[in-house]
C-alpha cells in the first residue's frame, strides 16, 4: 500500500509546482472497473495480464488523465521503476512523454530488463544493484510499454507514456482525484487496458471541484 500511495502523493505534489495558471481546478469521481480475475489479497499485488493481446493489470486499475496541449516540463522529469523482491514496482507506471525512467535494481541478483513493445524497444542487459549510472530510458513516444526481465520470466510491468502532465492511477474501486488542473474545456480520459480507453468532456472552472462519473 505504501508503495502504491507514494507515487500518487508525489504526483499531487508535482501538480502544485507545475501549474500552468493560477487556477487550481480539481476533478474527482469514479470509473467502473472490470471484475478482478483473482480474489483480492491483503497486500494487493498487481500483475500484468495479456489476454488475446490485451494488456491490463489484475486486479484491474485505470489511469485517468486530462488530454490537451500542455507545455513540456523543462528539464525533463525522471521517474523510477524499481525491481525489488523479484517484482516491478509499481506494476503500472504512467509517465509524461519525454520522461526519463530509471530502473534501479534493489534485489541482490541480476536483472535484465527489456521491452519488445513497439512504443519503445530497449534491452538494458544484465546488471547488478550497484550498476551506476542507474540504467534508464527516455520515453519519447506515447503508448504502452511492457517491461520484462529476461532472467525472471514472471516479472512484468506496464509503463503508460502519455502526452499530458495531468494523470492519476485509480484505486482498486476506481476512485480517482486529479488536482492542480487548469480551467477550461478538456477531454478526460480513462485508460483501462491496452485496447480500452474511456473519455468524457469536462469543463473545469477556477477553484471548483468537478464531479465526474464514467458510464
Amino acid at each position: 500500500m505504501r508503495h502504491f500511495l507514494l507515487p500518487i502523493a508525489s504526483l499531487c505534489a508535482l501538480s502544485f509546482f507545475t501549474g500552468e495558471s493560477a487556477a487550481q481546478c480539481v476533478v474527482e469521481g469514479q470509473i467502473p472497473l472490470p471484475k478482478a480475475h483473482s480474489a483480492p489479497v491483503a497486500n494487493k499485488r498487481y500483475e500484468i495480464v495479456s489476454k488475446g493481446g490485451v494488456l491490463a493489470t489484475d486486479p484491474p486499475l485505470a489511469v485517468v488523465y486530462l488530454e490537451g496541449s500542455f507545455a513540456k516540463p523543462q528539464p525533463a522529469l525522471t521517474k523510477q521503476m524499481v525491481q525489488k523482491n523479484l517484482v516491478f514496482i509499481p506494476t503500472l507506471l504512467p509517465v509524461q512523454l519525454g520522461t526519463k525512467v530509471e530502473f534501479p535494481n534493489l534485489d541482490d541478483t541480476y536483472h535484465n530488463i527489456f521491452s519488445y513493445s513497439p512504443t519503445k524497444r530497449f534491452d538494458l542487459g544484465r546488471y547488478r544493484p550497484d550498476e551506476r549510472p542507474i540504467p534508464s530510458q527516455i520515453l519519447d513516444k506515447t503508448g504502452v510499454i511492457t517491461l520484462r526481465c529476461d532472467i525472471h520470466p514472471h516479472m512484468r510491468a506496464l509503463i503508460l507514456v502519455l502526452d499530458s502532465p495531468h494523470f492519476v492511477v485509480t484505486d482498486a474501486e476506481g476512485h480517482f482525484r486529479l488536482t492542480g488542473l487548469p480551467a477550461g474545456r478538456f477531454t478526460l480520459k480513462a485508460w483501462i487496458n491496452s485496447t480500452t480507453t474511456r473519455e468524457l468532456p469536462v469543463e473545469l472552472k477556477d477553484g471548483a471541484t468537478t464531479q465526474v462519473v464514467f458510464p
Binding site: G53, Y116, T146, H154
Partner: protein, 587 residues
C-alpha cells in the same frame, strides 16, 4: 617248474581287457550323449543369449534415445519459456521472434560450413515457429534458421495447433546424397504464462543419433518412415523388401507399437525388432528398426563353444580312459588272486592226485609183490607136505609154517586196505544192508569154528537195515565178533544188541572177557596194538583199527562202551538205511 599255465595269463589279461573295453564303451557312450545334449543345449542357450543381448542392445538404444528425446524436449521447453520468445509473440514483435530464438539456440544450432558444433549431442539443424493455425511463421532470413525445401516445410505443417509436444521425423533429401536422411523434429507449443493458452509453437529439427557405420558385426539400427527404411549399414538392395515386410506388419490389423520379425539378408538370418518412436503424435508414425545378425554371431559363438566342448570331452575321455584302466586293474586284482589261488589249489590237487595214484599203484604193486611170494611160499610148503616120507616133527613144523603164511596173507590184506583207507582211495558202494541177516550169518560162521572156549552167543536184534557196503560191514562185525570170542573166558558169553533210534543204528557187542586196563583203553584202536592179556591170542593188532576206520568211512563210528569185570562191550554205529541216499562218505 612252471607254476601257472599259459591260459592263466590269457584269462586274466583277457578279463582285464574286456573290463576296460566295457568301461571305455560306457564312458564313450556317456560322453558322446553328454556332448550331444550339451551341443543342443549350447545351441539353444546361444540363441537365447543372443536374443537377450539383442534385447539388451535394443533396450539400451531405446533408453539412450529416450533420454536424448527428453533432453531435446527439455531444450525446446526451455526455449518456449524464454521471456524474449514470449515477448516477441505477446508484445507484437514478430520481427524479433526469429532473432531471439537464434540467440537462444546458438549453442546447439548447426552452422553451415562449420565442422564444430558447440553441442555434439544435441545438434539442431533447423527451427521454425508455427502460428495458432499450425502454419509456419516465415523466417526473415531462412539461411539463419536452417534451410528447408518447400516439400520439407510441408512436412512440418500440422493439421492444428497441438497442446502438447509432438515428436516427428522429417525426411530430408540432399543434392549431394542419393539417399534421403531423417531429422528428428520436436514441436513444442508456446503457452502463455498467464492465460495458459497456446499462442504459438516452435519446431526444432535435430540430427538423429546414428550407430557408427563400422558397427557392422553387431546390431544395425535405422528408422522406418513413410514406407521407406533408412538404414545406411544395410545393403540398399534389401531396403525395399524389408520396408515392405515392415509395412505389412505395422499395417496389419491388431498391429502393435512394437514387433519382431525374421529377416534374411544375403543368406544370413537376422532378427528384426521395430518400435514406434512417436506413438500418439500428429506426425506420421516412424519406427525404430533394429537388426541383429543371428547366424553370424551365433556361428561365431557356437564355434567357440564347440571347441570348448570338444576339448572338454577329449579331456574327459582321457580321464575316463585312465580311470577305466585303473579301475580295470583294481577290479581284476581279486580275480587275478583268485586265479592264482585256484592255480595253486589245482597244483596241490594234482599233486595229491598224483600221490593217490602213486599210492594206489603202490598198493597194487605191494599186493602183487607181497601176496605172490606168500602164495609161492605156501604152495612150496604144501608140496613139501605132500613129499614122502616125512617125519611127524617135520610135518608138524611145515603145517605151522603153512598156517603162518595164511596169517601173513591176512596181515598183507589188512595193511593194503588200511593204506587204501589212508589214501582216501577206498571206494565204497552204499547199499541197503540187512544187518540182522548179516549178524546171523556171522554168528553161524563163528559157531562152526572149532571152539575150545565154549562161548554162548545171544542175539537180541530185530530186523534192521543200514547203509553201507556189505563186505566192509561184514568185515567190521567179523572183527568185533572174533575179538569177542578170542578174548572171552572159558564158557563165557557174547551178547549182541541192536538199537535203532531212527537216525542211526547202534550195534553193541559185549563179551565176558577180562577187562581192558584203564591205561590201555586209549591205545586199543592203534595199529599193531594188542591187549597185554592176550599174548597167546591169534591176531596181528590191526583188526580194531581197520574196523574203526571202515565204520568212520561209512559215516558211523566204533568205540569202547564199557570194560569191567562183568562185560567188555564195543559199540558200532551205522547210518540208518531209511535216511535215504543223500549220504556222502567222509574222506
Amino acid at each position: 617248474m612252471k607254476l601257472f599255465g599259459d591260459n592263466y595269463f590269457t584269462g586274466v589279461s583277457g578279463f582285464r581287457a574286456k573290463l576296460l573295453l566295457a568301461m571305455m564303451t560306457l564312458s564313450v557312450t556317456i560322453t558322446g550323449g553328454g556332448l550331444y545334449f550339451a551341443e543342443h543345449k549350447v545351441a539353444a542357450e546361444t540363441e537365447h543369449d543372443l536374443l537377450r543381448d539383442f534385447q539388451a542392445e535394443v533396450t539400451a538404444l531405446d533408453n539412450t534415445q529416450e533420454i536424448r528425446r527428453i533432453a531435446l524436449a527439455e531444450r525446446c521447453r526451455a526455449l518456449v519459456r524464454r521471456p524474449r520468445i514470449r515477448a516477441a509473440l505477446e508484445d507484437n514483435a514478430l520481427d524479433l521472434l526469429y532473432p531471439s530464438a537464434k540467440d537462444e539456440l546458438s549453442d546447439v544450432m548447426e552452422v553451415p560450413g562449420s565442422t564444430h558444433p558447440l553441442n555434439r549431442v544435441l545438434v539442431a539443424r533447423f527451427y521454425r515457429f508455427l502460428d495458432t493455425q499450425g502454419a509456419i511463421i516465415a523466417p526473415p532470413n531462412p539461411t539463419e534458421v536452417g534451410l528447408l525445401t518447400p516439400a520439407e516445410e510441408a512436412q512440418l505443417q500440422l493439421p492444428g495447433m497441438p497442446d502438447k509436444e509432438q515428436l516427428g521425423y522429417l525426411q530430408r533429401s540432399h543434392a549431394d546424397h542419393a539417399t534421403p536422411t531423417i531429422d528428428e523434429v520436436i514441436v513444442m507449443p508456446i503457452i502463455s504464462a498467464q492465460t495458459e493458452e497456446v499462442i504459438a509453437a516452435v519446431a526444432v529439427g535435430f540430427k538423429p543419433v546414428e550407430l557408427a557405420a563400422n558397427h557392422t558385426d553387431g546390431m544395425k539400427s535405422g528408422i522406418w518412415l513413410g514406407a521407406h527404411l533408412h538404414m545406411l549399414t544395410i545393403p540398399s538392395s534389401v531396403h525395399a523388401s524389408l520396408s515392405q515386410e515392415i509395412q505389412n506388419t505395422i499395417t496389419a490389423p491388431k498391429a502393435a507399437d512394437t514387433g519382431k520379425l525374421h529377416a534374411e539378408i544375403n543368406g544370413n538370418s537376422n532378427r528384426l525388432f521395430f518400435k514406434q518412436l512417436n506413438p500418439g503424435s500428429l506426425f506420421p508414425a516412424a519406427y525404430q528398426v533394429s537388426l541383429y545378425p543371428v547366424s553370424a554371431g551365433m556361428l561365431a559363438r557356437q564355434k567357440h563353444l564347440r571347441w570348448q566342448a570338444t576339448l572338454t570331452c577329449t579331456l574327459l575321455l582321457g580321464a575316463s580312459a585312465a580311470l577305466s584302466h585303473y579301475l580295470a586293474r583294481q577290479l581284476s586284482q581279486p580275480v587275478e588272486k583268485l586265479v592264482i589261488v585256484s592255480a595253486e589249489e589245482r597244483l596241490l590237487r594234482e599233486r595229491a592226485e598224483a600221490d593217490l595214484q602213486r599210492a594206489a599203484r603202490f598198493s597194487a604193486d605191494a599186493s602183487h609183490q607181497l601176496k605172490t611170494p606168500v602164495t609161492v611160499l605156501r604152495a612150496g610148503l604144501e608140496e613139501l607136505l605132500a613129499l614122502e616120507p616125512l617125519s611127524p616133527e617135520v610135518r608138524e613144523e611145515i603145517s605151522a609154517l603153512v598156517h603162518q603164511t595164511f596169517r601173513l596173507t591176512s596181515i598183507v590184506e589188512d595193511l593194503l586196505m588200511l593204506s587204501q583207507l589212508d589214501a582216501g582211495h577206498l571206494p565204497i558202494q552204499l547199499n541197503t544192508v540187512n544187518l540182522t541177516q548179516l549178524i546171523d550169518a556171522l554168528v553161524d560162521d563163528l559157531s562152526a569154528l572149532p571152539d575150545e572156549l565154549n562161548v554162548e552167543v545171544t542175539c537180541d536184534c530185530p530186523t534192521t537195515y543200514v547203509l553201507g557196503e556189505r563186505r566192509y560191514i561184514a568185515l567190521i562185525l567179523q572183527n568185533l565178533l572174533e575179538n569177542a570170542r578170542k578174548y572171552n573166558r572159558q564158557s563165557g558169553q557174547i551178547r549182541i544188541a541192536c538199537n535203532d533210534d531212527g537216525q542211526a543204528v547202534t550195534l553193541q557187542i559185549a563179551n565176558t572177557g577180562s577187562p581192558i586196563h584203564e591205561a590201555a583203553r586209549e591205545h586199543i584202536f592203534e595199529r599193531f596194538h594188542r591187549g597185554t592179556i592176550g599174548e597167546n591170542v591169534p591176531g596181528h593188532g590191526l583188526g580194531l583199527n581197520l574196523a574203526r576206520e571202515l565204520a568212520r568211512l561209512h559215516g558211523g563210528d566204533l568205540w569202547l562202551l564199557r570194560s569191567d569185570t562183568q562185560w567188555t562191550e564195543f559199540a558200532v554205529r551205522f547210518r540208518n538205511a531209511k535216511q535215504g541216499s543223500t549220504f556222502q562218505p567222509t574222506a
